[in-house]
């Protein structure tokens, strides 16, 4: 990236961040919460971009990481009195990282469609366990819990309002983005991209491909789990539906249609998808998925590089 384009990038980044900081002050309650939710789904989409966009591995297991992060947070919020924000995050991250390690160990030995199927199977296994183990997970009904206070021990403790929750989520998502951006631009990230381009050649020049792939799955799972924790904090419930593979499918769609390998693209796509769904559902009630589907097909045909790829080319005209 040249000095000029770096300056343009950081100016753009600062403007968008400033707009997102100011947004809750001007938006109504519903749209404020909606924007927060977009950020959460955006983080989930961004986490899977590490695998899909940078390593070339399509994962259908992200629902498991997302769900386990959610249930981990729920466990902390239900077991520890009074509920503690940082413990919820810790439990969620440990839960998702543990599952990611387990999934990564078995699935990274496989490639392409076999990897995708293995991750899909793992997510379904966790779904069935959560769905039927009612005594612990609440089964189909899931778990409901109270939201912890925003606190820094010894300094302050205030209940979350929708504004402070938005800023907290924004801070976490922004930090995650910057970390992931740094990682993808590091030598480690370059090796991942090398695996995406030509796995055999990467192996031939001496890289331990399996180890890199495992790290990528774990990293991706960790941030997906973080998104799950944020969702639990915002909505105060965890349900097995979030572990179901359809959530993984939506995440893949966010990536493909947002622009894979861009980190920001999947966030933009998640926001676009949620807004589109919300807008159409107001006019077409139960039929709104039909126009949404038509728009998706049109986008795949006319914007093969995704929303961000299209915007980039349009801006370059």
């Amino acid at each position: 990236m040249s000095k000029r384009s770096a300056t343009v990038y950081w100016i753009g980044f600062s403007i968008i961040l400033a707009l997102l900081i100011v947004a809750p002050l001007v938006l109504t309650e519903f749209w404020r919460r909606f924007l927060t939710e977009i950020l959460v789904w955006g983080l989930l989409a961004m986490s899977s971009d590490i695998l899909i966009g940078y390593t070339g591995m399509v994962s259908f297991g992200h629902s498991a990481f997302f769900g386990l992060g959610m249930y981990g947070a729920a466990a902390a919020l239900l077991m520890v009195r009074p509920p503690n924000l940082w413990l919820a995050i810790l439990y969620g991250l440990v839960g998702s990282a543990g599952i990611a390690l387990f999934v990564a160990y078995f699935s990274t030995r496989l490639r392409d469609i076999y990897f995708a199927i293995t991750t899909l199977i793992f997510s379904q296994i966790f779904y069935v366990i959560i769905f039927t183990w009612t005594e612990v997970t609440g089964g189909e009904n899931g778990l409901t819990f109270r939201r912890p206070a925003l606190e820094i021990p010894g300094l302050f403790s205030v209940p979350f309002s929708s504004e402070t929750l938005h800023w907290f989520v924004l801070a976490v998502v922004t930090a995650s983005y910057l970390i992931l951006r740094r990682i993808t631009q590091s030598p480690f990230g370059m090796v991942l991209q090398s695996i995406r381009e030509n796995e055999a050649r990467t192996r031939a020049i001496g890289y331990a491909v399996e180890r890199y792939k495992m790290t990528a799955v774990m990293l991706s799972g960790l941030f997906a789990g973080l998104a799950g924790v944020l969702y639990a904090l915002q909505n105060r419930f965890a349900a097995p539906d979030f572990v179901y593979f359809l959530v993984s499918g939506e995440t893949v769609i966010f990536n493909v249609m947002g622009g894979i390998g861009t980190l920001v693209g999947p966030i933009v796509r998640a926001g676009f998808f949620l807004l589109l769904r919300e807008a159409f559902s107001r006019f077409f009630t139960e039929y709104y998925l039909i126009p949404v589907g038509v728009i998706f097909i049109a986008m795949v045909i006319f914007m093969p590089q995704g929303l961000l790829g299209f915007m980039r080319r349009w801006l370059n005209q």
Partner: protein, 436 residues
Amino acid sequence: MTDDTKTQNWSEEFWYRGKLTRRRLIGYGTAAGALGASMLVPAPWQAAFGQATKPYKIGTLQPLSGAAAAGGKTALVGTQMAVDRINKSGGINGRPIELIVADYESKPDVGRRKAEKLLVEDNIDVHEGGFLSNVCLACEPLFGEYKVVNMIGVCLDTTLTTTKCSRYTFRPFDYAPAQAVAFAPYLVNKLGKTWHIAYADYAWGQSTRDAYVQQIKKAGGDVVGTTGIPLGTADMTPFLSKISGNFDGLFGIFFGKDGVTVGNQAYDLGMTKKYKWAGDGAIAESTNLPALGNKIEGFVGINRYVPVLEGVLNTPYHKKFMDDAVVRLKQIDPSGPLPDRYVQSNYEAMNALKIGMEKSGFRGREDTMKLIEALEGLEMKEGDDFPQGDKVLRKEDHQAFIREFLFDIKDGKFRILEVVPKEKTMFPPDCKFAAT
């Protein structure tokens, strides 16, 4: 590579080819105008009440798409029937109802968002509806947060009126413990002493199983074994074939297509001949009967509603309810199914709200506490509003107690065997409301 370039060129051509011509402008303008005009068409209640009367905004969350769409659409028929009838007869306190329908795609995250939309954007006065228990549970805290009464239409989960009860939530129909209290004496005294329970292995099936185990034992019988079958299992034969031994009856707890599967496969394995075959009425819901055919003959079940005009249900108000429901259901399902308990409970839930709103002089959200007080202990009398029968909304947990119908299937039709009055379905409350 070539294909990719072609695609890009094509898309560029599509997006950049043209300037805005007059013809295009007229075309876009017409389309936008048509959309805008459709939004300006007055709602049906406006034609009847005029523009000046401010309607009550009542929200209804239903799964109109996704896995539970069929049931959600049926449930919505009940709600709309009640709303149309109320609006035709002068509304509530002289004000019409504006029904705001929200589809939650059978997903809890969408349900939660739609509930927020109803509460914050649409500013509803009360809510009636909810179909899937997990969505009801996910949304329940929101109604408390915004101090809006939530009248449940279908959700059966026991904890909604026990451990997770809320001062703002009411369930104007039965729940598993009450059904077990009503059914267990009949099972033990008239069908057999010893039972094996097969159930859908998830929260509802498990809690219903526990209720029946408790009540069958209390009635002097015994449950010798239980078999959980995962929800949505297409081939239940491996599970059912393991059920054997010396017991009198097989009791099934399933609903929807699982009800059809267990009914057909238990028959094919000869289990319905070897043992007495009984269970939750959801197995033999009217919508399931065509798929079950003669394999469900002799099944004994319990339900809060059966679509027959006989015995205590042979009343002019029930006939009126059924006639209206059949016509409306035919519009969504050309096979013309008979109404089921989802239609009935949503219809009556809306009418319960109407009575509470009239009794409390409800004006809007500011009167929520008055409405809650009016609904607590509300006695509903059998009539046009409540064709199913008398019912009472218990103050301690906001759980209704209603008459139950024990029936069997004979010649492919429901036959009422016994009507259990609501007093004989009582189950002690287990709810502590949080301070409001």
